[in-house]
């Protein structure tokens, strides 16, 4: 009952990525002897729902709060309120435009997506048409992964043409239909990048149903994606370290609540994985089902 307690407000909770973050956070909670709660809105568009969650979290007077901001500015008044109440904030997944958070544990999404672009270019021979099935048009990760990928292609690979960027909301079925339509409209397509787990699975599904041969690059992890890579349907994917994000967020939060100093920036890293390295222990450790 009297265990200190850390509230994590994430960007979502139903998706595998966030469940992996939660798993890491829970593990840290168990290791460090704190209770952890984890909450997030249904979609990454619901900025105000997240604000309401943050507000309820502050009312509970936790030892510290971990916060993955859907918008870099919208929550600032509440963060100030938390600061006044003496609740330290640790930002995770993406930062906020404020120096209130004592630390930020995040992946560099732009760099991660640029790596996906390089891999794509390598696999299709640096020329031809490709498409992007993104998960979101307006969320931070959606924008960063799309732009990281698209800009890298534009800068470094002039012979590659991105014919279509469409958004499936991370919904597997919708992403499937989008992929099929793009393939129908562009029979000579050479590659598709799916920007998160749901999108990537949708791309794999759509390609499989149409029986096309295109190079697929995914993002994040999950059982179907791992299977698709093993089966050779997907060339490879970028994974972050969600378990690490969750763990390090809670770790930093606990430290901050005790008044200890923490690193301002915690880079949790990202990795390329494909058939060749998927079973290596250092990769297997950052993958999740």
């Amino acid at each position: 009952q009297d265990k200190p307690y850390v509230a994590l407000i994430s960007k979502g909770f139903q998706h595998q990525f966030w469940q992996a973050v939660k798993a890491g956070a829970d593990k840290a909670g168990a290791d460090l002897g704190v209770n952890v709660t984890f909450e997030g809105p249904d979609t990454e568009a619901q900025v105000d729902r997240q604000i309401d969650m943050l507000s309820a979290a502050i009312a509970k007077k936790p030892a510290a709060i971990g916060f993955a901001a859907l918008d870099s500015q919208a929550a600032i008044p509440l963060l100030e309120q938390a600061k006044t109440a003496g609740i330290p904030i640790v930002a995770f997944d993406s930062g906020v435009d404020s120096d209130i958070p004592v630390a930020t544990a995040a992946t560099d999404s732009v760099a991660a997506a640029a790596l996906a672009a390089d891999k794509m270019a390598e696999l299709i021979g640096s020329e031809g048409k490709i498409a992007v099935v993104a998960h979101d048009q307006t969320s931070r990760t959606g924008i960063d992964r799309r732009d990281g990928f698209v800009n890298r292609i534009k800068e470094a690979y002039p012979k590659i043409e991105i014919v279509s960027v469409q958004y499936g909301g991370g919904d597997q079925l919708q992403s499937t239909e989008i992929t099929k339509s793009i393939l129908q409209g562009n029979p000579d397509l050479k590659g598709v990048f799916g920007t998160n787990e749901g999108s990537a699975i949708g791309v794999v599904n759509g390609v499989k149903e149409l029986g096309s041969k295109v190079t697929i690059i995914g993002f994040d992890s999950g059982a179907l994606q791992k299977q698709a890579i093993k089966d050779g349907l997907m060339a490879g994917a970028i994974t972050q370290n969600p378990v690490g994000i969750g763990y390090k967020t809670v770790e930093a939060a606990v430290k901050a609540s005790k008044g200890e100093t923490v690193d301002k920036k915690i880079d949790t890293g990202f990795y390329w994985y494909d058939k060749t390295n998927i079973d290596k222990p250092e990769i297997a450790a950052v993958l999740y089902d």
Partner: protein, 333 residues
């Protein structure tokens, strides 16, 4: 008699007098086909037409479930999450318990019927307005799907035949040129069966009667509560079929999916000419409504229209589609 069935399938079934078959939005569907065919050479290809049909299968089946409820004058917001719930139950039966495929199929459909039975009782016996009852069920089923699955997808890798429920093609083995996916066959089978139920059986008759004037039906000595429960149970069972289709298509039960699907389903119903006030409606209309939604999405994507404009255009065309066909019908009569 077959005349009556046809009326049910195509016309504003009850009371249209068999003479005038007013098909809301059918003309618009044709128009969309023509426009997209001209706009992109890739649109009118067998593989794309099959893709459109495949894309219609899940929403089409959900829309059929919604149609039945809407004809009684109700509304069903829970079709999307009930679909997911049924997919999860199939996952529990097949993957967690490792039971054979037919039991998984039965499990999903029974789970749907069971949930529909609960909803029906909330509506008919507790007399909660259908909007609230199904909103509540929507949330309950959404939560339960996450709880039961442990907030993670359940995969069907251990059940080899499972993906062919939707993705296989019985037709393709006979006529290789037209590999119509099984999911599409399921959609048509459900459409025909439910059309027959609506036009030829006592359940169907009471469905329309309840939507027309429930009190008059009650005062005719009909057990209106019982029949209403039956209608919701039927709708639930149909959602179970949708759950199997989507799970088979994704080879997994995705517990987070489903919310939001009810809007597409109800939209298909209303575009198809069924009135939300109840008492009228056809399954064929609903199919056409569902097709319009898929054709629009597919065509705009094929043309690589930027997505924000896709949304604007879709909204406009939905309104226009209904308007054009209202004009057509008005002139015809």
């Amino acid at each position: 008699m077959s005349d009556n069935f046809l009326a049910g399938l195509i016309g504003k079934s009850q009371g249209a007098g068999g003479a005038r078959y007013k098909l809301l939005a059918f003309g618009s569907l044709i128009l969309l086909f023509v426009v997209f065919s001209l706009a992109s050479p890739n649109f009118l290809q067998t593989s794309n037409i099959l893709a459109i049909l495949q894309a219609t299968s899940v929403n089409g089946v959900l829309a059929i479930a919604a149609t039945v409820v809407i004809i009684t004058g109700g509304i069903d917001l829970s079709v999307g999450t009930l679909m997911t719930f049924c997919a999860v139950i199939a996952g529990v039966v097949l993957t967690f318990l490792g039971l054979p495929l037919p039991l998984g199929i039965a499990g999903a459909i029974l789970a749907g019927a069971g949930a529909g039975f609960v909803t029906g009782n909330i509506v008919a016996r507790l007399r909660i307005p259908p909007f609230i009852a199904t909103l509540g069920m929507m949330l309950i089923l959404k939560g339960l799907s996450l709880v039961i699955s442990g907030t993670r997808p359940i995969y069907f890798n251990g059940t080899p035949g499972f993906t062919s429920i939707s993705q296989g093609s019985i037709v393709g083995t006979v006529i290789p040129a037209v590999p119509v996916p099984n999911g599409v066959l399921v959609l048509f089978a459900v459409a025909i069966v439910i059309s027959l139920v609506l036009t030829r059986t006592a359940l169907g008759r009471y469905t329309f009667a309840l939507g027309s004037n429930e009190e008059a039906v009650r005062l005719s000595g009909v057990n209106t509560r019982g029949w209403k429960v039956a209608v919701y149970t039927l709708a639930g069972a149909i959602c179970g079929i949708a759950g199997l289709l989507i799970a088979s298509r994704l080879n997994s039960a995705q517990p987070a999916l489903g919310q939001g699907y009810e809007l597409d389903a109800i939209a298909a119903v209303v575009i198809g000419g069924t009135s939300l006030a109840g008492g009228s409606g056809t399954i064929l209309g609903t199919l056409i409504g569902a097709l319009i939604i898929s054709v629009l999405a597919n065509g705009l994507r094929i043309m690589s229209v930027p997505q924000e404009w896709q949304t604007v255009i879709t909204g406009t065309i939905i309104i226009l589609a209904v308007y054009i066909d209202m004009l057509r019908n008005r002139n015809a009569s």
